[in-house]
């Protein structure tokens, strides 16, 4: 495997490509399914035909987007096998279960009821159709639940133990895997961000209708629903985002340090409100910021609810020391030591195998104990140096701050939209508001993508935090094969995205020329 690094890089690129394309479509599906269900509920409750028209308008956009989410999602599941086969074996016992549950519990629900949603208007009763719409929305969110449980487990591998006889990890506590605080926060953060994204999408498209002075009543009604769903979404996203950051500080302190570009931490650590990192690779105590505006003690306070708490930086973590809340220096295990302990565990595993083959049960048992004692550092044995455990700081830092800025903007955006929808309706006629709505569509998508970059790039070099680096998780395939499939999928997904945007624009444009509230069919 001479091209080990080539395979790793191309496999990472391919997974990132497919995941990011998938995440273009999924949050809109999550949020829009809820909004459509709310609209249809209003139709069923009031019996007003205009709400049927409004529901169908947004449902068509949902359908166009839904197909793209399905197409891009298929690849992701199977890429764990095709490109990350070692990973599939090493932790398949734990990771595979949520994927199977996702299929049984959620995918069939989605697939079955989405057909009723689209084609059932004249085939089933009004109430059955509404039930199908809600079940589709539930199915969509349940799908997100199980894949996020799986992803959260990669960030915080719990509920398992290592089985030296099979040289893999096995699950020993399902509830811990599924419902520890990391997946709970991650799930709600992702789902609520989908509400937020769909809220902006509905408002943005409605603003375009207002700008073109078409279907004014439809647009105003849609803005109200989009704004409420989006407002609830952004508030809950901020809350769960905070919860996620607290969990990151606990289980992935290196990621937190990278998010803040923090190399040397301190008691009463500031948080970077806005900053530019120096270009060079930072490995020293020198201030890594070219320029920054900080909020004093902000990071300590936000993470620990204590402005005097110590927050370790990248260098502190590598060197293996931290300062506790009393300001005392506390030694932890340095990354060099972790590599040594991980190597010890790996070597003990080799001895275990040899002892089992030789029938020496006592030696096998001793080796197994040694594997277990140091297993929490097993993954470090694959790292060439302590510095190899540092994620790409620049990408993590900027993605995090873009996400936070965009999130702050979106909170204000929804407040403004709710205000003008109920208290200052004359502003709804203003062109600046229309353009604000339209431009916000791009901002919310950037925010959403940035969030995933923080989560996934910040986890590097690990595919499973502390247990398995990406370099050990791959398949035995030539990098040229992965390059070819990378470019094939890049071309297909880009073509797909172009077609989707084109179809949506054309549909919005043509539907808006008719009376959406009273469709001809």
């Amino acid at each position: 495997m001479n091209d080990l690094l080539g395979v790793v890089d191309w496999s990472r690129a391919q997974f990132a490509l497919t995941a990011m394309y998938h995440w273009l479509f999924v949050p809109l599906t999550i949020g829009l399914s809820l909004i459509v269900a709310v609209m249809e509920s209003i139709y069923v409750r009031t019996g007003l035909p205009k709400w049927k028209g409004i529901t169908k308008f947004w449902m068509t956009l949902f359908g166009i987007n839904f197909a793209c989410g399905v197409a891009t999602g298929l690849i992701l599941e199977f890429e764990f096998g095709t490109n990350w086969s070692n990973y599939s074996w090493f932790v398949g016992d734990i990771f595979g279960a949520p994927l199977a549950i996702e299929g049984i519990v959620a995918f069939f629900m989605e697939a079955t009821f989405v057909a009723v949603m689209f084609f059932g208007w004249n085939r089933v009763s009004k109430r059955f159709h509404l039930t199908a719409t809600w079940l589709t929305a539930v199915g969509v969110s349940l799908s997100a639940l199980w894949i996020l449980v799986a992803n959260a487990w990669m960030q915080n591998p719990v509920g398992m133990k290592f089985d030296p006889a099979q040289m893999r990890n096995v699950m020993d506590n399902f509830w811990e895997v599924a419902f520890n605080p990391v997946p709970v926060n991650k799930f709600f953060h992702a789902v609520f961000s989908g509400w937020c994204l769909a809220g902006v999408f509905v408002i943005g498209v409605s603003c375009w209708l207002l700008w073109r002075k078409r279907n004014i009543d439809v647009a105003k009604n849609s803005i109200k629903i989009g704004a409420w769903v989006g407002f609830a979404g952004i508030l809950l996203t901020l809350m769960t985002g905070h919860g996620s950051a607290v969990e990151v500080s606990r289980v992935q302190p290196m990621k937190l340090a990278a998010m803040e570009g923090l190399y040397r931490g301190s008691v009463g650590q500031d948080i970077v409100g806005f900053g530019i990192l120096k270009c060079e690779d930072q490995r020293t105590d020198e201030d890594p910021m070219l320029f920054s505006i900080d909020i004093p003690k902000g990071l300590s306070y936000l993470i620990y609810s204590d402005g005097e708490h110590f927050v370790p930086g990248i260098r502190d973590l590598i060197d293996g020391f931290a300062i506790n809340e009393n300001g005392d220096t506390v030694n932890t295990v340095s990354y060099a030591e972790r590599i040594a302990l991980g190597t010890k565990s790996r070597e003990a595993l080799a001895r275990y195998g040899a002892a089992v083959q030789a029938g020496d049960t006592e030696a096998a048992s001793t080796a197994a104990r040694e594997v277990e004692d140091n297993f929490k550092y097993f993954g470090y044995s694959y790292l060439p140096s302590p510095e190899a455990a540092i994620p790409p700081v620049g990408m993590t830092f900027y993605s995090f701050h873009i996400m936070v800025f965009a999130g702050g903007f979106l909170l204000l955006f929804f407040v403004v939209m709710l205000f003008v929808s109920y208290r200052k309706t004359s502003v709804l006629e203003k062109a600046w508001l229309h353009w604000l709505g339209i431009i916000s569509i791009a901002i919310v998508w950037i925010c959403s993508q940035a969030g995933w970059i923080v989560a996934e790039v910040g986890r590097q070099p690990w595919v499973i935090q502390d247990l398995m680096p990406t370099t050990a998780a791959i398949s035995d395939i030539p990098s040229s094969s992965v390059q070819i499939t990378f470019w094939i999928f890049a071309a297909i997904f880009t073509g797909l995205l172009i077609a989707e945007i084109s179809i949506m624009l054309r549909y919005i444009s043509s539907a808006s020329k008719e009376d959406i509230a009273n469709p001809t069919h």
Partner: protein, 379 residues
């Protein structure tokens, strides 16, 4: 049998049932492969919209089939998917282009034109069926791979499953695998014809065309399947014994004879399938062939998976290192995971019930030209 062995067998049964369901639902792909045949635009529209009600089910069954394999037999997932890279990538590619083609094909502004999306559907219809058959074929005729778990100890070359450098292309080139692949393809076309007969009303021209196609494709399928069955029964394989895997001639024939109920099920399946096909072809008033042929085909697939895996048979034989072959016992998840998953599997009857209920509701009125004219959402 201990609890682990029972659960391993149970999960192999579930995988087999999912495989059967998938093959039944491949009528969607079979129908797609017929879109360019001798039908007019209205008939094509009826066919697409009729299939469009079901394509998501086939797609989801494929995804769940993969997910269930991952959860219950992760070593297969890691060895076959990571090894036969090109085979699986081509299958996935064909399903990716299917997923958006239904929704996009007739939408204004779709950039590439309806014919492009119909070609994607055609591609999925042909390639998806044939290559899924090829992938299942490797479970009988094997692959050139090795599995060495100690590789995980080597940071320079940590991959435990290593496949021949052609990475699945050799499986596609294997005539035995292709025999099964094309049998699956013609079965899918046969089932699609029967599905159209059942699901499309008011176009007697299309229905009679489909009766002819059911017969023609059914005959080709029968020939290919009989040939495959003969090859399979003469095939040797590996059986796990106390001393490791041992080669055994006619292993699948022995499995059929040793587990006589499987032989009986195979016979019932074949009879049901043939009854569904031939009665549909010659009884112009009968439209239930899809159910007979579908259940029959499902039973046959169930038997094929069963003889591949049960009886300590290697269900993924290695042609270069028999000791690396995969069996139900050596490739499964742990007892704990299989137990958890088994509790979850209790939901399956509930899932099947609501699928059946919705299917019945949505199919209560067959697809017709009148409906296409009135329905706002169509493919």
């Amino acid at each position: 049998m201990n609890t682990l062995e029972i659960l391993q067998d149970y999960w192999w049964l579930l995988i087999s049932v999912l495989g059967s369901a998938l093959v039944f639902l491949l009528f969607v792909q079979g129908g797609q492969s017929m879109l360019h045949s001798n039908v007019n635009d209205t008939q094509r529209q009826l066919m697409v919209n009729s299939l469009g009600l079901k394509w998501e089910l086939t797609f989801t069954t494929l995804v769940v089939f993969g997910g269930a394999f991952f959860a219950s037999f992760p070593l297969f997932y890691s060895t076959s998917f990571g090894g036969a890279y090109w085979l699986w990538m081509l299958i996935l590619l064909s399903f990716v282009v299917q997923a958006f083609s239904y929704e996009f094909r007739r939408k204004r502004g779709n950039v590439y034109g309806t014919r492009t999306y119909d070609t994607f559907l055609m591609f999925n219809g042909l390639v998806g069926c044939v290559l899924l058959g090829v992938a299942v074929g490797t479970m009988f005729f094997g692959g050139a791979f090795t599995v060495d778990k100690t590789n995980i100890l080597n940071p320079g070359a940590p991959v435990i499953s290593n496949w021949t450098p052609t990475h699945g292309l050799e499986a596609i080139a294997c005539w035995k695998n292709l025999l099964l692949g094309f049998a699956v393809f013609f079965l899918a076309r046969t089932m699609a014809s029967l599905y159209f007969i059942n699901n499309i009303a008011g176009d007697s021209g299309l229905t009679s065309k489909m009766r002819r196609k059911a017969l023609l494709n059914g005959l080709v399928f029968a020939v290919l399947f009989v040939a495959f069955l003969l090859v399979l029964l003469l095939q040797s394989g590996y059986r796990m014994t106390d001393g490791g895997f041992e080669e055994e001639s006619n292993i699948y024939l022995h499995n059929l004879l040793n587990m006589w109920w499987l032989g009986a099920t195979l016979l019932i399946g074949v009879v049901l399938a043939l009854y569904g096909i031939f009665r549909s072809a010659f009884d112009s008033k009968w439209n239930c062939g899809i159910w007979y042929a579908g259940i029959g085909a499902g039973l046959v697939v169930l038997v094929l998976f069963s003889i591949a895996g049960y009886g300590n048979t290697a269900y993924l034989p290695s042609t270069i290192d028999p000791a690396s072959s995969l069996s139900i016992a050596n490739s499964s998840s742990s007892l704990f995971t299989l137990t958890v998953m088994s509790w979850v599997s209790l939901l399956i009857p509930f899932v099947l019930a609501y699928i059946a209920y919705v299917w019945a509701k949505m199919n209560a009125r067959p697809m017709s030209e009148t409906e296409l004219k009135g329905d706002a959402h169509q493919y």
